[in-house]
Symmetry: C2
Amino acid sequence: MNEIEFIKSPKAAGKQRPSFKAVSGSRESHPTSFIVEDGQKLAKRAVLSVRRGPIRYRRNSTIVCEGDPADYIFMVVDGIVRRCKTFQNGTRAIVAFHTPGELFGWTDEVKHTLSTEAATDALVLFFKRSALLSVAAREQRVANFLLTSTTSELRRTQEHAVLINRSAKCRVASFLLNLSTRIDEVSDLDLPMSHQDIADHLGLSIETVSRTITELERACLIERVSARTIVLRNRAALARLLS
Amino acid sequence: MNEIEFIKSPKAAGKQRPSFKAVSGSRESHPTSFIVEDGQKLAKRAVLSVRRGPIRYRRNSTIVCEGDPADYIFMVVDGIVRRCKTFQNGTRAIVAFHTPGELFGWTDEVKHTLSTEAATDALVLFFKRSALLSVAAREQRVANFLLTSTTSELRRTQEHAVLINRSAKCRVASFLLNLSTRIDEVSDLDLPMSHQDIADHLGLSIETVSRTITELERACLIERVSARTIVLRNRAALARLLS
DNA sequence: CGGTATGTTGACAGTGATCAAGAAAGGTGG
DNA sequence: CCACCTTTCTTGATCACTGTCAACATACCG
């Protein structure tokens, strides 16, 4: 871990881009509200007792390196976090992006198999693995939350793996539709991450991502307000590209 | 579900190819031995009480269709099972192969999002989702097994997703190394599934799979005893292709 | 033994990567 | 507020890897 900076309030983070502020600011519920919803004071107190942070990370800073001991697991409070693997030749594969409220990094291995980095300025909670396990043993709702989080992440990763043998147009359309459901899309869809991140996530070159967005715009499926701001003009047609 | 056939003994299945028999016959421990290892008679009785089957499936028969209600989850007893999604244009993506002992199909959705098919003759146990959940609520070891199974599947799916933007040679090498650790590799590595299945799993064409195997053989990294039987001659060199 | 399914190899084409140049956006300092 | 610089994005030209089409070989099965 590097570039760690303790802060007093979530408001201190995520101001790099106006659109990003809008995204995080418009969230009605706090990411950890699942504990409240469970209505179990004991569980809430138990989980919070093993919480560390939140810790603020600047964009592109590393939260955990591949190979680091898997002592902690994480939850995004604000911003976007990417989980990736970098190869010797410098190419990088981004397995997943995580949005606020998502628990990630849970593993049975002793070491993390993926690096975790801040794709935007981000605010991240830490949970000590061993402590969370012992809480889960006492509180069934905590155990359930662990299982549910892992199951959701598995489903998303499976859907992503399905994209492997599909065309560039299909991958980009899928990504845009997916993203629009995961972050608050007021009217415009603000891309919180760089095109390079999107390219590494979809297994495409940055040039192909750009060209494909242009192509979708020419077909009037989307509209490019700015490089990082897109309007989905025809969701139905975009969805048809996937089937 | 179709082509279901109740049988008395696992011996009745998996005889299609001699190599397949050798693979399944050489397993020392029974796939459900985790229950015994847990040493909890209550848990064992509880889990077995919600078991259905085993049911035998012939190669290429469908176990569950995409969109079927997710009332049951599954465990491979014998053979290889594939989980896939087929698109309108006929192309198919195989997200994962499952080997004996693996629990799969766990989901939070009401419907299965992937089809499940027998890649070889296979023997499959069924567990009623709701029943397994209530057992897990009583027996922490059962809950743990659910979480561990899901976590393992997530890790494997993540590793598979990483292969997206890598070369054909790298994908095939990765697949062969991976397979050799998952099935008993006496001296030869018997491919239990067809080249078409491998191609759909790796996002390659069947021709490219064939050509890549030929290429690896020319480089003396592997040796092709027959179309379905391969010897890994130089594991270290194969592993170097991945990094 | 013949027929079907599966695997192999070659020729060619197409999608997307690479290389290169320019444009736009964001950040910094005057 | 503007000038400058850096980063990010866009577009074009070319190339390479892999897909497609086709023919043949081999294995499997009745």
